[in-house]
């Protein structure tokens, strides 16, 4: 069930009405049934995988807490890791590694037929496996007591607002919330509804509009020239941002209406002044997951310099692989790892250049310059993220340096108005985010200025209805 589907727009109010009718102590049952139904609408058979993860991690947690033996605790953690990562590997990466091995064998003239595993990738598997893994790792580390209530734990694994595309919640934050009674709070529900509306706006008005141009160019890279590729990549940068942050807003808003606070997943990433900051603002729930469960266990930055670089690089490569079983994602991750290492390596030089040019005196210009450079670096990396293959990514990059750069019609939309609307909407988004960054206008709009709030909400709703693309379009992050 997609958030931008009529199915969800019917499903959610039913859940909401039932939720506020039922006694608080029984609400978890209703939410669990709703969450399983939500998932099973996509493919009812794959609920078995969620159940398997739930059962294994529930008992791993309980047994880990009941034993003091380090060896047994380690074994239980390994069982959880093996189950969750095993499922993830089998469904998501088996064929990728198989194909890569076949390619290697071909090059080495070794004749071996690597078997393939032809199944549908379970939606959201990367998200809920990471969420349950964080639970067992936290118990292993002694940071958290195990959840004794099986039903509540099952709900933690499958809570429908964030089941298929996050935010990847920590058990320390979400599990206690399922034990609390959530009263009917006007302000909270209103804030949730506003967040959901803005999420829908980002998804159906901006992201799905840009998708038409991006898909046309990226699915036929040889048919288009430099400037068309540049526009498509620029559009993709905002498509993926609006798509994923729109999804997160809807998820956070839906959970908030029910009384649960999920973590912020995006914090205006394109206003970052460097790549490090970009990763503190982009897909925060995933980057903090990798920080806490991979980067820091590897040693983080409290090691010798080469090892620090290695830790950074490997974390980003694995983060790339998490996004998809394709070399394009690995290169994307590696590129971000390289950006970070390069930034650390050149920090002193850059500080000297800034000093010579006296950029510290021109604060606004300096900030704009940094934001622009960071944005361009991120955009360049998106080429690999979106390209269907490494070859396509290379073609796109080559096209940037040909004499035909300006050739061809730039407006590739079916409805010509979409081209101009796309730029206007991106401009609107950026202006809004700049104001949000400086003046926190969303807070002011939702908490005060009631006339402006209603006018703005009406306008956003109208534009969702009039400008929204309501033909079925998946959220990009569902595939990860």
């Amino acid at each position: 069930m997609l958030f931008n589907s009529l199915q969800f727009l019917v499903f959610f109010p039913i859940v909401l009405a039932l939720y506020f009718t039922i006694k608080p102590k029984y609400r978890w049952i209703m939410l669990l049934i709703a969450s399983y139904y939500f998932y099973m609408c996509w493919n009812y058979k794959y609920i078995v995988l969620i159940l398997l993860s739930t059962i294994v991690d529930y008992f791993a947690g309980i047994f880990m807490a009941s034993t003091k033996s380090r060896k047994k605790r380690k074994l239980l953690l390994l069982a959880s890791l093996f189950t969750n990562l095993g499922l993830l590997f089998s469904f998501k990466y088996f064929n990728f590694f198989g194909d890569s091995l076949s390619f290697l064998f071909d090059k080495l003239n070794i004749f071996y037929d690597v078997p393939a595993f032809n199944v549908l990738l379970p939606v959201g598997i990367s998200f809920y496996t990471f969420q349950t893994l964080s639970y067992t790792i936290d118990i292993y580390r002694g940071k958290k007591e195990p959840e004794k209530h099986f039903g509540i734990f099952a709900l933690y694994v499958s809570f429908f607002p964030q089941l298929v595309a996050g935010p990847i919640e920590r058990s320390t934050s979400l599990l206690p919330q399922f034990h609390k009674d959530h009263t009917f709070d006007y302000n909270r529900i209103r804030d949730g509804i506003v967040l959901m509306i803005f999420g829908f706006f980002k998804k159906v008005v901006i992201a799905d509009r840009l998708a038409e141009y991006v898909n046309l160019v990226y699915n036929n890279v040889t048919d288009f020239n430099g400037l068309q590729n540049v526009i498509a990549t620029f559009f993709f940068s905002f498509q993926i941002y609006c798509d994923f942050s729109g999804y997160s807003d809807i998820a956070i808003g839906a959970a908030l209406i029910l009384g649960y606070r999920l973590m912020t997943n995006f914090n205006r990433p394109y206003l970052s002044r460097n790549i490090r900051e970009f990763w503190q603002r982009w897909h925060i729930s995933l980057s903090t997951w990798f920080r806490d469960y991979l980067y820091i266990p590897l040693g983080g930055n409290r090691v010798v310099k080469w090892r620090w670089y290695y830790n950074l690089f490997i974390t980003f490569v694995i983060s790339g692989l998490w996004h998809g079983a394709n070399w394009t994602f690995i290169i994307w991750g590696a590129l971000h790892g390289f950006y970070l290492i390069f930034a650390i390596w050149t920090k002193n030089i850059r500080n000297k250049v800034n000093g010579v040019l006296r950029l510290d005196r021109l604060k606004t210009i300096h900030a704009m310059l940094e934001i622009s450079i960071t944005f361009l670096l991120a955009v360049f990396a998106w080429i690999f993220f979106r390209a269907n293959s490494l070859n396509d990514a290379v073609v796109i990059i080559k096209n940037l340096f040909t004499s035909d750069f300006f050739k061809g019609n730039l407006n590739l939309f079916k409805f010509k108005a979409d081209f101009y609307l796309s730029f206007i909407l991106i401009g609107f988004l950026l202006v809004y985010e700049i104001f949000e960054e400086r003046y926190e206008i969303t807070h002011k709009i939702t908490r005060g200025w009631s006339i402006i709030r209603w006018v703005l909400l009406t306008l956003v709703l109208l534009s969702i209805f009039i400008l929204g693309k309501w033909e079925e379009a998946d959220f990009l992050y569902f595939q990860f």
């Binding site: 009529l6 727009l9 019917v10 109010p13 039913i14 006007y186």
Partner: protein, 364 residues
């Protein structure tokens, strides 16, 4: 604050109940119909106020005036014979079942004073097998298809294999329950409900019209249109103009054409050999093939002439409609419906009768 909270609480409960009604409605036709402005009548999809393509976009300019009211279906009438009783059997699509005018099968029955059986199904051998039908008497089988479906219906040979459900009763019941709960067409039905319900249809139509008037947005289901005269608007179905096999623009290779024709000839041969029936093939030109000059002068992929030539070479009897349709000075299709009008049926009927007389199939 308390008042606002109560209003919000009531709004949530009312919306929840409405949505529950919708959830049940998309799974239960009478419940669905209770809130639709125009009821859904199974098997009578054309019993609507406006042309079918209007209901894909709800833009008010495409409410075509003076559409004839649909009549009762021939295949449900007393005149319609059983498979065994019939002298002529017709298998075809919605064109032969479209009742804004008297249908082709009914008119053929009246013209020839013969019993004409019509089934809206594309695989006659399956029907014969399912019904355990056998025939010794010489009969005629007419196979009708609209141009856009030729490539779909004849990309593989027709067989008499019938799908048999060998599952146990419990598994069947479980599957029925599962299908009801996780209903495949749920989204499509919500869409229908949103567009057609008494609560939302006017708002939907207003929004669709605003989008069209100010941004030229139109549903991807009817991407091509002609709107010089609001009394006679024209809409074209996406399948006829996109890049699918059913499209005016799709390039069918010579090998493709050969495959379709081989499979049609194979069907004709099986019908003759196994059921002693003569076979007559009628392909109705797409509306866009005939009327695309309203919009552009794009080059036609020549599907129909190529198919007809190829079939004749293989000895299959064909009613050639393409030239007559192209040369006719009458309007042969409804502006906002994919289907032909009475003028189209007139041409097809006279050409068929001419063909039957020429070929001698009528002697029996």
């Amino acid at each position: 604050m308390k008042t606002r909270e109560n209003i919000l609480r009531i709004a949530i409960y009312v919306t929840g109940i409405l949505c529950l009604y919708a959830w049940i409605g998309v799974r239960t036709l009478p419940v669905m119909n209770s809130i639709l402005r125009e009821k859904i009548i199974p098997e009578h999809w054309e019993f609507t106020k406006w042309g079918e393509l209007y209901y894909f976009n709800y833009i008010k300019h495409f409410k075509e005036k003076n559409l004839p009211t649909p009549e009762r279906k021939y295949r449900f009438s007393d005149k319609h014979p059983s498979l065994k009783e019939a002298d002529i059997l017709i298998f075809g699509d919605s064109f032969f079942d479209f009742t804004r005018q008297k249908t082709f099968p009914e008119r053929l029955a009246d013209s020839l004073s013969k019993k004409v059986y019509y089934e809206r199904f594309f695989y006659p051998l399956e029907t014969f097998s399912r019904e355990n039908f056998s025939n010794k008497q010489p009969k005629l089988l007419i196979y009708e298809t609209v141009e856009r479906d030729i490539g779909i219906r004849f990309n593989t040979p027709h067989t008499d294999q019938v799908y048999e459900d060998n599952r146990s009763e419990i598994r069947k019941k479980f599957a029925t329950g599962k299908d009801w709960l996780f209903y495949d067409l749920e989204e499509e039905m919500y869409n229908k409900m949103l567009k057609g319900s008494i609560l939302s249809t006017d708002i939907y139509s207003w929004i669709a019209t605003v989008k069209f008037d100010h941004f030229n947005f139109i549903s991807p289901l009817t991407p091509k249109y002609y709107l010089e005269d609001t009394a006679q608007p024209w809409l074209f179905l996406h399948k006829q103009v996109n890049d699918e096999i059913s499209s005016f623009y799709y390039h069918h290779s010579d090998k493709d054409i050969e495959t379709y024709c081989d499979n049609i000839a194979d069907l004709a041969n099986k019908v003759k050999t196994n059921y002693n029936m003569e076979f007559l093939f009628i392909a109705i030109p797409n509306k866009y093939t005939v009327c695309h000059s309203l919009i552009n002068d794009d080059e036609y992929n020549e599907l129909l002439p190529r198919i007809n030539d190829c079939l004749e070479k293989k000895g299959v009897s064909v009613v050639r409609l393409y030239d007559d349709f192209m040369n006719s000075d009458k309007i042969l299709f409804y502006g906002t419906d994919t289907h032909w009008n009475k003028n189209g049926v007139d041409i097809a009927l006279s050409k068929t009768l001419e063909m039957l007389n020429k070929g001698g199939e009528l002697r029996n």
